[in-house]
């Protein structure tokens, strides 16, 4: 034994005394070799099972390999034998059918039977010109599209230009009024063109109706009401026809869809609105006083709305300014 000095000897001795004073764990004092052995046996069983699984996998893989036809030996060009044929690839699977079948519904109900189909269901990919038709009422479009981009419908004479929301991979029919914000189309032939990305698949159907029956009728006018803006239907932002009146006006409105609706006068002052139109729609009548020339409907692009404006001779100020 080596000499380590008195102080270190003392401290080291105390250290070992403390160590040896500790009692062994009870598990060691009651050592059960069979139990431990059983634990080891369990490990061995698990190990053997794992090896068996791996071996089975290798066997299955070998069977799979043996099932494949072996490539024929490549003949040498010197022998003049034909080259092995190129593999034949199967055509790519068709795209999933994401566009709803004909007829596409309007908000789940379909076009009313009284409506007249002016453009039957047309399917296409990329931009295309639709057949010409002569409108005789309010024209509505239903569409569905799939891909990256959005549909934009314009009339060839430039009088109509409507952009719809982006297409998606979960296309579902959407309907929209494209006949203008404040009146039916009639008379002249209309040629519509669908402008979109070359990869966008879409289908479309157009119908017209003399009276848009999908929107509720606004409250009846008072007997002495003087209409400034007749019932106007729209989808999204639109400007109502201008009128000149320096008095108290009544605005009947109804809207449906996500988000709210706000009507501005031409000078930017807010005249009325609703915070949320909702899927079931909401409407009312508001009054507005002051100079105005034009009303602008500011609404979510997917909101449908209708508005009528009138005044009454008995209003506080009823002097039309002409």
């Amino acid at each position: 034994m080596i000499d380590i000095g008195p102080r270190l000897d003392s401290e080291l001795r105390a250290k070992f005394d403390r160590v040896e004073a500790e009692n062994p764990p009870q598990r060691l004092m009651t050592f059960q070799p069979t139990a431990t052995r059983g634990h080891r046996s369990l490990n061995a069983i698990v190990g053997l099972a794992a090896i068996a699984v791996v071996a089975a996998g290798i066997a299955v893989f070998a069977l799979e390999l043996s099932g494949h036809p072996r490539p024929a030996p490549t003949p040498s060009s010197a022998q003049g034998a034909p080259l092995p044929s190129m593999p034949v690839y199967s055509p790519s699977p068709p795209l999933p059918q994401v566009i709803a079948p004909v007829p596409m519904p309007v908000y789940g109900t379909g076009f009313p039977a009284s409506w007249h189909i002016v453009i039957p269901v047309t399917k296409h990919t990329g931009s295309a010109v639709l057949p010409a038709f002569v409108p005789a009422g309010w024209v509505y479009v239903q569409y569905a599209c799939f891909g990256t981009g959005h549909l934009h419908i314009v009339s060839t004479d430039g009088t109509l230009s409507e952009s719809f929301r982006s297409c998606s991979s979960s296309a579902h029919p959407v309907d929209a009024q494209i006949s203008g914000a404040y009146g039916p189309l009639s008379g002249s032939p209309v040629v519509l063109k669908v402008v979109t990305s070359p990869s966008v698949r879409w289908e479309i159907v157009l119908a017209e109706t003399a009276t848009p029956s999908t929107l509720p009728a606004l409250p009846a006018l008072p007997a002495n009401a003087k209409v400034l803006v007749p019932v106007t239907y729209g989808l999204g932002v639109a400007a109502l026809p201008s009128f000149a009146y320096r008095s108290f006006i009544h605005i009947q409105w109804w809207c449906s869809g996500p988000g709210g609706i706000t009507v501005f006068v031409s000078n930017g002052h807010q005249s009325m609105g609703a915070s949320d139109c909702g899927s079931d729609g909401v409407g009312g009548t508001v009054n507005y006083a002051g100079p105005r020339e034009t009303l602008v409907v500011d609404v979510n692009p997917d909101n449908r709305w209708e508005i009528r404006v009138y005044w009454q001779p008995g209003d506080p100020t009823n002097n039309p300014s002409g």
Binding site: M1, I2, I4, G5, R7, L8, E11, L12, A14, K15, F16, R18, V19, E20, E22, N23, P24, P25, R27, L28, M29, F31, P33, T34, T36, R37, R40
Partner: protein, 173 residues
């Protein structure tokens, strides 16, 4: 059934009572030895457990030996050394742990004891084994070499460096 060396085996042939009489009775000494080298109760328990298991598996030959305690000591020391090597290869104990003052054992530690524990924690596994076997258990350098599975010169080196580390840490010049 009477077995060799007067040990009694059980009816199914497993050396339960004889094993207990020789090996399990030596658990306290083996645990103190393992704890001195590993300085960790959990690791020491595992090392002794492995030693007992190995003894049980080798009981047929171990029961015939004259120096069964020496055999157990060597197996236990080897487990401790290899265990600490394995732990160190896995980054255990991490350096910050050695500097942390853990909870004192039963009865508490004085300041010198805490310093000694910290200094002892800085020794290598071989240094601890050499000091424990030579200083505490009184084995000669040659016997330590046999137990540790190395040359006597290596044991001396571990002894000298281990003690030098302790002196340095404890500032015992």
């Amino acid at each position: 059934m009477i077995a060799s060396a007067g040990l009694v085996t059980s009816d199914d042939g497993t050396p339960d009572r004889a094993f207990e009489a020789v090996v399990v009775a030596d658990v306290r000494r083996l645990f103190a030895l393992a704890l001195s080298i590993l300085d960790d109760r959990g690791e020491a328990e595992d090392a002794v457990q492995e030693t007992l298991l190995k003894a049980w598996r080798a009981w047929d030959s171990l029961s015939q030996m004259d120096r069964q305690a020496a055999w157990l000591t060597r197996v236990c020391v080897n487990h401790c050394i290899s265990r600490r090597r394995m732990l160190r290869s896995r980054g255990w104990p991490w350096p910050g742990l050695l500097d942390r003052a853990g909870p004192p054992p039963e009865g508490g530690h004085d300041a010198e004891g805490v310093d000694m524990d910290r200094a002892y924690g800085r020794l290598s596994n071989m240094q601890r084994a050499a000091i424990t076997l030579n200083y505490r258990h009184g084995y000669s350098v040659d016997e330590c070499a046999a137990l540790m599975g190395c040359r006597p010169g290596t044991v001396r080196t571990h002894l000298e460096r281990g003690l030098a580390t302790l002196r340095k840490e404890l500032k015992d010049d």
